[in-house]
């Protein structure tokens, strides 16, 4: 699953950089690709029996240490914070997926001090994590679909926000109408996970 996510982000490089060009310095896709290439390399070195949380942790470390920029820490914390919340799990279910996303979101908000509404990737992740809590009663596949949809909704909602953090913060109202680049990445990540889980 983590590998599929990596490929999806790598394929979206131009789209993500373009999103960052409207608000930031236009390198979000480049950084995410750099991180995901590192993820693929590190995962390839793991053996088949690696526990799930260890896979998430390896991916997070790979991103954190290869990407740099704001999103290196932020997206590295996504996997690292998520992994910490699901220690030792053997299979991913709707409940552990919700715990993963809550851990990821908490870690990122602690690190980056962003609140929902600041026009960051938190605006896609926070509604997704919230949706995951209520969706935990469903099957994993159904839950993942609900989560992905929530993330995409968050990405769309970020268009109507005014940036207050990161490089875009000095642009103020000029940020209206464009989605946040990091929110676009979160939407891709969670959509790809849902597709993978659904066997698509």
């Amino acid at each position: 699953m983590v590998l599929r996510v990596a490929d999806a982000i790598i394929a979206a490089e131009d789209y993500l950089s373009e999103a960052d060009r409207n608000l930031g310095d236009g390198d979000h896709g480049i950084g995410m690709k750099r991180g995901m290439l590192a993820v693929k390399e590190k995962l390839a070195a793991l053996d088949g029996a690696t526990p799930i949380d260890k896979i998430f942790q390896t991916a997070g470390m790979a991103m954190m240490s290869s990407m740099g920029g704001a999103s290196g820490v932020i997206f590295g914390s996504f996997y690292l914070g998520g992994a910490k919340a699901v220690p030792g799990i053997e299979t991913l279910d709707a409940t552990s997926f919700a715990a993963f996303l809550q851990g990821a979101c908490d870690a990122i908000m602690t690190r980056g001090k962003a609140q929902p509404g600041d026009k960051t990737m938190v605006d896609a992740l926070h509604p997704a994590a919230a949706a995951a809590q209520t969706a935990a009663i469903h099957s994993l596949a159904d839950a993942a679909e609900i989560i992905a949809t929530a993330a995409e909704g968050g990405r769309e909602a970020s268009k109507e926000m005014i940036a207050t953090l990161g490089r875009a913060k000095t642009l103020g109202e000029a940020t209206l109408g464009h989605p946040d680049a990091g929110a676009c990445s979160i939407a891709i990540i969670l959509r790809t996970m849902a597709d993978y889980i659904a066997g698509k």
Binding site: D14, S17, R21, D25, G26, D27, I30, G31, R34, M64, S65, S66, M67, G68, G69, A70, S71, G72, V73, I74, R111, G112, L165, G166, R167, K169, T170, L171, G172, A174
Partner: protein
């Protein structure tokens, strides 16, 4: 617009390759440490450490400011990207001589996130770390929100002063005090007229109409005070200085300053000198004495066009530090 004919190899390897070249430019004085830190060789035992850093692509800073009586090391990220925390840690470890390290860098979200994590890692390993953020860009936030201001070309005099201080400071606390004073005494304001480009995409970093320039724009094209008509050097210079003089740091007759006129890349030395001529006349009118002048492309953003003016007010302590010689790829003073 055709892709720029840059003289590079793999567009994604630019940062790594330029660091290798930079080590050659240092010709034995500095080395590449770990994955992305440039570190001085033969640091004096016990010296208080000074680590600077940030994204690459702005050469000759930051990594060109490693040198004698300058920074001990620089943690370097990819093009326009803050260095990851483990590179910061490697830099801190290499620079630390047992008496702690000051992290000194521009106030950008990505840099703060990564250097702060690097500082956590370093502290976990028993290295004392303090941080001073550079936020000299006056138009980027009001005076009561300095912690929202960006670091731009004023970093050059600030690092110069911090570097001199680091060779004399008895401890990390003293280096923090002096560096904070250098930072608090420095103000910059810039103008942008044409974008640079990102090597990996070939795309311009921003767009501007043909007949306007961005007053107060950041070095990556971040928003400034206003888009104003393209105008003459003599019209522009007073506008820029007024922004500095309108801020909360007093510059009065008799004050001594270091003046930096910086090019962001393709703005020529000719233009900088023409602006300098007017700036000097305006400072003279106010009775402000220029103790030293720096002029050139110190803080760039690829082939971006635009320039900035920075003033650092000197007191007796800073003046003595300023007058110390220093040597590096970016700035050398005899």
């Amino acid at each position: 617009m055709p892709l720029l004919k840059k003289i590079i190899n793999d567009p994604n390897a630019c940062a790594a390759e330029l660091l290798e070249g930079l080590v050659e430019a240092y010709n034995g004085a500095a080395r590449l440490e770990g994955r992305g830190s440039i570190v001085m060789n033969n640091l004096p035992a016990g010296k208080v450490g000074l680590l600077v850093g940030g994204g690459s692509g702005h050469e000759p800073i930051y990594h060109g400011l490693v040198g004698r009586n300058l920074a001990d090391g620089a943690a370097c990220g990819d093009i326009f990207a803050a260095p990851p925390p483990d590179i910061v840690l490697e830099g801190a470890q290499a620079v630390n001589q047992g008496n702690g390290v000051l992290f000194l860098y521009g106030n950008y979200a990505g840099d703060v996130l990564n250097f702060d994590l690097g500082a956590e890692f370093a502290r976990d390993m028993g290295i004392e770390v303090e941080t001073v953020l550079i936020w000299d860009d006056v138009p980027s936030a009001p005076p009561d929100k300095k912690h929202n201001r960006r670091g731009i070309a004023g970093l050059v005099p600030i690092v110069k002063l911090a570097g001199a201080a680091s060779t004399k400071a008895a401890n990390l606390g003293e280096l923090v005090r002096i560096t904070t004073k250098a930072r608090d005494n420095t103000r910059s304001v810039g103008v942008s007229s044409a974008p640079g480009s990102i090597p990996a995409t070939g795309k311009p970093t921003f767009e501007l109409p043909d007949d306007v320039i961005g007053l107060g724009m950041g070095i990556h094209g971040e928003k400034g005070v206003a888009l104003i008509p393209h105008q003459t050097a003599d019209e522009l210079a007073p506008k820029l200085l007024d922004i500095i003089f309108g801020d909360d740091l007093e510059f009065k007759s008799g004050d001594e300053v270091v003046l930096l006129v910086n090019s962001l890349g393709s703005t020529t030395m000719m233009e900088l000198l023409i602006v300098l001529r007017k700036v000097k006349a305006l400072l003279n009118e106010r009775g402000i004495k220029v103790h030293d002048t720096l002029v050139g492309p110190y803080v760039t953003c690829q082939e971006m066009a635009g320039m900035s003016i920075s003033l650092t007010k000197l007191d007796a302590e800073l003046k003595e530090l300023w007058d110390m010689p220093c040597s590096s790829v970016c700035y050398t003073k005899m």
